[in-house]
């Protein structure tokens, strides 16, 4: 069994299996709204394939990262919109 990866989602620690995308980690932590739209609607992922940009979040202080295209790495810091 490969070792679990520890990340933080909005400050809360989360342990995921290797190969988990950041988006899957966000959703499995119980969050369904990843960002707010330009008119402040809650949004979650649509395509999960890097096309729609609905899953963008801040990863390691870098904004607008498509989390569906990124694998979790140790100590990653992930922030979604409030």
């Amino acid at each position: 069994m490969p070792e679990a990866i520890s990340i933080r989602v909005n400050g809360a620690p989360l342990s995921v299996s290797p190969g988990t995308t950041v988006l899957a980690a966000i959703l499995s932590s119980g969050i369904s709204m990843v960002r707010r739209s330009v008119s402040a609607e809650p949004r979650g992922p649509l395509c999960a394939m890097g096309i729609c940009f609905e899953c963008r979040a801040t990863v390691n202080h870098e904004r607008h990262i498509r989390t569906c295209q990124l694998l979790c790495a140790p100590e990653m810091d992930v922030r979604t919109d409030d």
């Binding site: 739209s37 949004r43 649509l46 395509c47 729609c52 295209q69 990124l70």
Partner: protein, 434 residues
């Protein structure tokens, strides 16, 4: 003047864009012919959508296993998490990987950029937990636990069945599958599957996995409800309208090809797909296309086209003759798929005036109706001007209003400024040198 760095480009005989089944087959065939081959993919791992999450140790099908083995055994350079941003000049592409720019030079190019789902706007489709059918499947393959969740699968296409079967295997409770296409058309589709032993066996296997799940034809979601996330879906079938409580709505209306890069490179598009000859070569000499780009035909077709493109691009055109019979039958299947899952008129009236059509810029249906073209609507409303660059709302407005897609402008994907500056500097340098 921006002073960009000029790293020497990676240079290949055959460059393949996309590491799904078509791209893997193309790369293997070209490498087998002795060409120096590289494959670029925007995903963190090769496999594309259908083989997402499959590894050589853990492959779902014997076919995936054998191709992934071949792919690993050949001398092929693989660049994952890498995305093409722009063309610098014929034979040289600009890519970005984790924000850093990278150039790729090639003698022959094979585009295997696949397809995305077609999404049609309906009230509530922007609520969290309403997602694509392939989208939810991709998430589950990427680590999202789905056990015990109630899922409504809706839209159109054979993908709905594969998705429902996959989600059920992972413990989801599938409430129902709503297919917009009528029963008669699906019945003739089922009969056509009898002509292919493999397809028929696959269909039977899926059928077994779905036993007990209602498969409703001529049925579609008309509304998704919930406060901050999805709570229920309202469906219609004939005059019957009912509400289905659920955790997820997995909804996609079959597939549209990712033709943006092919368009940017000047390949002729006909009827929404790249036109290719018998060697999968596009109207631009030296640029080949394989897989869903040339017609939505599924994995078997993608593998056949990939091999043809790979051999042809490596200068071994004679070896493509062995595929001519398979290619004909794949083309027939593509045609059957298109007819079976053609979208019904009623879906054009799902959106209400308040329904958001462009999710990036939150443009409502009522603001778009009066425009004659996508260009006019873009200029006035910003529809299609957000980060997805119209990839989601473009095909939707094409279906809703009959608007024609516009020519593609770089960057092909929203790119960090550094990559763009570099492309600009290189392009002007080229112009000066010519």
């Amino acid at each position: 003047m921006i002073n960009a760095r000029k790293p020497s480009p990676h240079s290949y005989d055959v460059l393949v864009i996309g590491a799904g089944p078509a791209g893997i087959a193309a790369a293997c065939s070209a490498a087998e012919s002795g060409a120096l081959v590289a494959v670029i993919d925007s995903n963190p791992r090769p496999g594309g959508q259908i083989w997402r999450g499959e590894t050589r140790e853990h492959a779902h099908t014997r076919e995936a296993q054998s191709w992934l083995d071949k792919f690993a055994a050949q001398r092929i350079e693989v660049f994952t998490s890498t995305e093409i941003v722009d063309k610098i000049h014929p034979g040289l592409l600009l890519a970005q990987s984790n924000g850093a720019a990278r150039e790729f030079a090639y003698k022959r190019l094979i585009l295997c950029t696949g397809a995305r789902e077609l999404f049609l706007p309906f009230p509530g489709w922007t609520l969290p937990n309403v997602m694509g059918a392939g989208g939810l499947q991709a998430l589950v393959k990427s680590g999202l636990p789905i056990a015990g969740k109630k899922v409504v699968v809706a839209g159109s296409g054979p993908l709905l069945l594969a998705v429902a079967a996959h989600l059920r295997e992972h413990g989801a409770e599938i409430c129902l599958i709503a297919e917009q296409s009528p029963f008669q058309r699906l019945a003739s589709f089922a009969i056509s599957l009898l002509l292919s032993k493999t397809k028929f066996t696959q269909a039977l296997a899926i059928r077994r996995k779905l036993s007990g799940i209602p498969y409703k034809t001529s049925c579609w979601a008309i509304r998704a409800e919930g406060r901050d996330k999805l709570e229920s879906v309202t469906l219609r079938r004939g005059s019957k309208i009912w509400k289905e409580p659920c955790d997820y709505l997995a909804c996609g209306f079959h597939l549209v090809p990712n033709i943006e890069l092919a368009s940017l490179l000047g390949c002729e598009i006909r009827g929404g797909f790249v036109r290719v000859n018998q060697f999968q070569e596009s109207s631009v000499q030296g640029i080949f296309c394989a897989g869903e780009l040339t017609g939505i035909g599924g994995v078997d077709s993608a593998i056949i086209e990939g091999q043809i493109a790979g051999y042809a691009a490596a200068g071994e055109s004679a070896r493509t003759a062995q595929f001519s019979r398979e290619k004909r039958s794949a083309a027939h299947f593509t045609d059957v798929l298109r007819r079976t899952f053609a979208l019904r008129e009623e879906l054009r009236s799902l959106a209400t005036p308040e329904t958001i059509v462009c999710r990036c810029e939150d443009v409502q249906f009522s603001r778009l109706q009066s425009y004659p073209s996508w260009r006019a609507a873009k200029l006035q409303t910003r529809c299609g001007m957000g980060p997805c660059q119209g990839r989601i709302c473009g095909p939707a407005t094409q279906f809703l209003f009959g608007w024609k897609p516009e020519s593609v402008r770089p960057p092909v994907f929203a790119a960090p400024l550094e990559s763009l500056a570099q492309a600009g500097a290189r392009a002007s340098e080229q112009a000066v040198n010519q």
